[in-house]
């Protein structure tokens, strides 16, 4: 998230959309409660059903699952039409004034450059207009030029009038207007609104654009970079933030850098760096020395990511140590290269597994037999593996995918499932017991980006081990196995640096040292941050965004900042920064984009908002006593999110963007389906798109076109969600009696109206079906779901918990046997939240 959980207490209006915060991130309710109590803040909750979050919200509005862009598009139009946007903020801190290339256009749901055969865009028209020099972007500060971003945005969203939006989303018009009015009120300079979201926003074929729509709203209202504001992703589980930071994603290396591909554009380190450094593609540099010089001189329209080479080279040094030298491209050729034509996401991996293309699988703390989309297909795919290693605290459904119980299916379903049995399955399955979170030591990064150290509280039970120990053993074992190999392809294994402590138990603090970065010559931690990283091999850093997390104490021993536990709020106006409690990336900056929390002059707070200032410009301050000639610095309670000694007129507020500004228009294919969000229906939808004639996100990959459910057979919207009592696939919680007792059965929620239509009463056993599978569940017939009136038609929804499987004290059918193999065009996150199904009494 851009802000933090504690910071929520500083908000005036919180919009909870695509999240059931009270159930899935309960601690947020403590801080929102404080905002309500102390500041009179209001909470808006937009959700297909009335949840435990809705109960404590001030305003609840229902919205059909998968129509977030329509909902937000209407809000954007409302803000623009009624002049409710924060004018000075928009003028100074966004690309609203930038002129867009003449070749760019949009018609009937498609932007220019679309190739329908490839289902992808050539994005070269999604660019700015440049001056004769080719690098200076042309702008219109009056925001009136029809080709400026602001006007193009207004034109784009002009179709999202309130009536049309309510026809699409099924939100009652009066409620919709209440939401618009209340949230748009945060456009006033002295008001700040925050947005909380989670899987209800991301798990769609348009998930990324859903978030982009939030960005447009929050930039219009001037809420980014301000206490109590921001766009706050509530991460789906503890340390998934740490997981993605460390690039446990198929397309990245640590710190959200694109990993290299096996294309000509990435053939060597220089080509790769030119490709991934913004603005560097056409640099004439013929070798790394020239490239370094160009970086040092500055590359136009690059932003702070001009320093990418320093982060990449430092990572290579961390991984390959002395084997990574200037002469051998810092062992760049050791990095595995993705096949440019392949997709390596979860869905792609299981599709490949289904086609027998994968031999083995490590599945650590995961349970796709319950949690994966299209779970029937994924379970079948596992049978094609030669071997599988499952790591978890208990034998979960995936570890036992081969057992008889795993293949039981309800009778009378619409989906034919080939029943396997253990004798047919040849996969060799290993199970490694993992110990629980309190039985091991290390850091976890919370959704607030706070990297917090956890000390061990108890010894692991039986033979269970920490994940760190397992990976350490594997690495050591594999290296030993390959140590005498002479094959060139085994060099990466032989030459990787490995050694986190002396005993059998690896020391988390040594891992922390590598992640935080050190100077190669003396192995001393780089405590200042990633600005000190170099691309000449003198620094090593496992994850540049974690650079600076390690420092040294007066006696020279390591001081791991995630261990800090100073419980004092260092904010002079009580904003709850807690800068000495743990360490936050980047460089302990608690609220990112905080340059925007003060007016462009860097001196004057936004009118009436004196208490929510984070940094200001002090023209006489000397930032570095070793450089007394550099006078003038940003000062304040938070780490400034701009160049520390750049004066206000030069200190760009969004320095990671090539533009240096917040972007309403996402140029050059930053997002695959367009520079502006546009409403598309979910892949399986009961209604036609009212806004354009595209059936689904034009850039989303369709994996199983034959599985597209027809509304005549499957007329109901299906969705999945959680309850506070259970955790993910229930591998933990259904094995804990106190929690199992609270929620002992798989159930689905339907409206009283749907119940009447199908003759289903509260507590009846039902069967829910899609083209992917059938499940049995108990029906919860509730007032909290109402039919959606979509363009005059009544549309119903079936909501399913996804926590259940066949293991544990309490069991039930996995809802994911119903969900489809289709995902977002950019991230491939599966569309768990909107698909088509049918329901009947079982």
């Amino acid at each position: 998230m851009t802000n933090s959980i504690v910071d929520m207490k500083n908000t005036d209006v919180a919009l909870i959309m695509g999240s059931n915060t009270a159930e899935n991130h309960p601690i947020c309710m403590k801080w929102l409660g404080e905002a309500k109590r102390v500041r009179g803040a209001k909470i808006i909750n937009v959700d297909p059903r009335f949840t435990r979050t809705s109960v404590v919200s001030d305003l609840y509005a229902p919205m059909r699952s998968g129509t977030d862009i329509a909902f937000l598009g209407g809000m954007i139009k409302y803000i623009i039409d009624n002049n409710l946007y924060h004018k000075d903020y928009v003028a100074a801190y966004t690309n609203a004034s930038y002129l867009i290339a003449d070749g760019f256009d949009f018609k009937d749901g498609l932007f220019t450059g679309y190739d329908s055969a490839k289902r992808s865009y050539d994005t070269k028209t999604w660019d700015y207009q440049y001056d004769a020099d080719g690098t200076t972007i042309l702008k219109d500060p009056t925001l009136s030029n029809p080709r400026c971003v602001f006007q193009l945005m207004a034109k784009h969203f002009s179709r999202y009038d309130i009536d049309t939006v309510c026809k699409i989303t099924g939100t009652p018009k009066n409620k919709y207007l209440e939401v618009l009015k209340l949230f748009a009120s945060t456009g006033a300079p002295n008001k700040v609104g925050t947005i909380l979201y989670a899987m209800g926003i991301t798990q769609h074929t348009v998930g990324s654009q859903n978030v982009k729509a939030f960005a447009v709203v929050q930039l219009l209202l001037g809420n980014m970079g301000r206490p109590g504001g921001g766009i706050n992703a509530l991460r789906g589980e503890n340390n998934v933030q740490g997981g993605t930071d460390m690039a446990l994603l198929f397309h990245l290396i640590p710190g959200y850098i694109d990993s290299p591909m096996n294309t000509a554009a990435n053939k060597d380190l220089l080509s790769y760096l030119k490709a991934i450094t913004p603005g560097a593609a056409k640099l004439p540099s013929a070798n790394m020395d020239e490239f370094r010089a160009a970086v040092k001189a500055g590359i136009p329209n690059s932003g702070f990511k001009v320093n990418t080479s320093k982060w990449v080279v430092s990572t290579l040094k961390a991984w390959y140590g002395n084997s990574a030298t200037k002469e051998n491209d810092f062992a760049y050729n050791y990095l595995p290269k993705r096949d440019g034509m392949k997709n390596y996401s979860h869905i792609a991996m299981f599709e490949a597994m289904h086609k027998k293309e994968i031999d083995g699988l490590f599945i650590m703390g995961g349970n796709p037999v319950v949690g994966g989309p299209n779970a029937n297909k994924e379970q079948t795919a596992l049978c094609n593996l030669k071997w599988m290693v499952s790591v978890d605290l208990w034998l979960n459904e995936t570890a036992e995918f081969w057992s008889y119980a795993a293949w039981e299916r309800p009778h009378g379903g619409t989906h034919h499932m080939e029943k396997r049995s253990p004798k047919d399955i040849e996969t060799e399955v290993f199970f490694l017991p993992a110990c629980a979170v309190y039985e091991k030591e290390g850091t976890a990064a919370s959704t607030s980006r706070w990297v917090q150290y956890r000390w061990k509280g108890a010894e692991p039970v039986g033979e269970s081990k920490s994940d760190l120990w397992m990976i350490d053993q594997l690495a050591k074992g594999i290296q030993k196995l390959y140590k005498d190999s002479t094959r060139p392809e085994d060099e990466p294994i032989k030459n990787m640096t490995w050694g986190y402590g002396h005993g059998e138990e690896p020391e988390p603090i040594q891992v922390g040292l590598e992640l935080g970065g050190y100077t190669v010559a003396d192995k001393k931690p780089i405590s200042s941050g990633f600005a000190s990283l170099a691309d000449d091999g003198s620094t090593a850093c496992g994850a540049w965004i974690y650079c600076g997390q390690m420092t040294t104490k007066a006696d020279g021993s390591l001081d791991y900042k995630p261990m800090w536990r100073d419980n004092k709020d260092n904010s002079k106006t009580g904003l709850g920064l807690y800068s000495k409690w743990a360490w936050c990336w980047p460089v302990n900056r608690r609220i990112v984009y905080n340059r925007c929390a003060i007016q462009p002059d860097g001196l004057t707070p936004w009118a009436g908002d004196d208490n929510r200032v984070l940094i200001r410009w002090d023209a006489s301050k000397i930032a570095d006593p070793k450089k007394p000639e550099v006078v003038g610095s940003w000062v304040g309670d938070d780490v400034p999110d701009c160049a520390k000694t750049s004066p206000p007129d030069k200190a760009v507020p969004f320095l990671m963007r090539p533009e240096g500004t917040g972007c309403f228009f996402a140029a050059k294919g930053a997002l695959k389906e367009g520079p502006f969000p546009e409403h598309y229906e979910p892949w399986e939808s009961p209604v036609k798109n009212l806004l354009n004639s595209q059936a689904v996100n034009p850039a989303a990959k369709i994996w199983e076109p034959e599985k597209l459910g027809k509304v005549e057979q499957y007329p109901l919207i299906g969705t999945t969600y959680r309850v506070v009592e259970h955790w993910q696939t229930g591998a933990l919680t259904r094995n804990l009696p106190w929690l199992a007792e609270l929620m002992p059965s798989m159930f689905v929620e339907i409206s009283e109206q749907l119940g009447k239509l199908r003759g289903i009463e509260n507590g009846d056993k039902v069967m829910v079906s899609t083209t992917r599978g059938d499940i049995e569940a108990i029906a919860c017939v509730t007032k909290r779901i109402k039919p959606f009136i979509v363009n005059g038609e009544e549309v119903h929804m079936v909501g399913a918990l996804w926590h259940f499987g066949f293991k544990g004290y309490v069991t039930g059918d996995p809802a994911n046997r119903l969900t489809p193999h289709i995902g977002d065009a950019n991230t491939m996150i599966p569309e768990y939240k909107a698909w088509l199904c049918d329901i009947r009494r079982a």
């Binding site: 309960p26 109960v55 009696p737 609270l742 002992p744 509260n762 108990i778 509730t782």
Partner: protein
């Protein structure tokens, strides 16, 4: 009398996360013996039982103007200031702590369950394993060590607060005033004066008590007060007197009959 200490539960802040239910199980080391089934409500556990001292109640309502309401209520012993359980217990197993907790001594309990019937809220429940009654203790041991009850300690929204009854009642009054002006016109306090002197567990409700399935004007059941006020006070000597009366009557009748000998059959007065 020492200053009363009370648990205050504010429905308007509760998200029914049920952390309190689990904290109670943990602190009191209560088991989860039977996995029930979902019968149509998130509540799942119908009532307190021998191994569950507190539950969360869920009830749905719909108002044409206000819309859907999902009413939560943390349900447990109300620690009545004038407790019925204490009155009916034949073994005097119940006492009142000086700060207001209704304490049951499992060593004295014989599991007769009179208290279960007498309680206007039906709270105490029989536990077969120990052949005794169990119920919420208001975490007597924790409180007397200066800690908060486990449920209150866990609650992260501040729906539960523990403190001096007089202070909390005042906070509750202010809260109700605020709620009535902000979307909950029928918000009310429950437990201030119910059952005569009130209860040591106070509720701030967002609607009338019936919308939370709370007895609106809880009264002690007739069985109880007849037994309590008319019978039991005299039970100690009433039965021996009645028996003695019977015996005397038996003897005197026999004697009288013997005296009149032939009167017995077909006698007509």
């Amino acid at each position: 009398m020492a200053r009363l200490m009370t648990n205050l539960y504010d429905v308007s802040k509760c998200t029914a996360c049920r952390g309190c239910v689990i904290a109670c199980k943990d602190t009191n080391q209560l088991s989860a013996d039977e996995m029930g089934t979902f019968k149509g409500s998130y509540q799942t556990i119908e009532d307190t039982n021998g191994n569950t001292f507190t539950i969360m109640r869920f009830s749905e309502h719909e108002d044409p103007v206000e819309g859907v309401r999902w009413n939560f209520l943390k349900w447990q012993c109300m620690h009545c200031l004038d407790p019925e359980c204490m009155k009916v217990c034949p073994k005097k197993a119940y006492t009142k702590s000086e700060w207001g907790a209704t304490v049951q001594d499992p060593d004295k309990c014989i599991g007769c369950q009179y208290c279960s019937y007498a309680c206007p809220f039906g709270i105490p429940k029989y536990r077969k394993r120990t052949d005794t009654i169990t119920k919420c203790t208001l975490c007597l041991e924790r409180v007397e060590e200066g800690l908060k009850p486990a449920c209150t300690r866990t609650c992260l929204t501040g729906a539960l607060t523990f403190g001096y009854r007089d202070e909390l009642l005042q906070q509750a009054e202010e809260r109700v005033k605020f709620l009535r002006a902000n979307g909950f016109p029928r918000a009310t306090i429950y437990g201030k004066l119910e059952l005569g002197s009130g209860t040591n567990m106070i509720y701030v409700l967002t609607d009338t008590p019936d919308k939370f399935d709370l007895p609106v004007d809880p009264k002690v059941s007739a069985n109880t007060w007849v037994w309590q006020d008319w019978v039991q006070p005299y039970a100690g000597w009433l039965i021996p007197v009645a028996l003695a009366g019977s015996a005397i009557s038996f003897v005197t009748t026999r004697l009288l009959n013997n005296k009149d000998g032939d009167h017995a059959e077909g006698g007509h007065e």
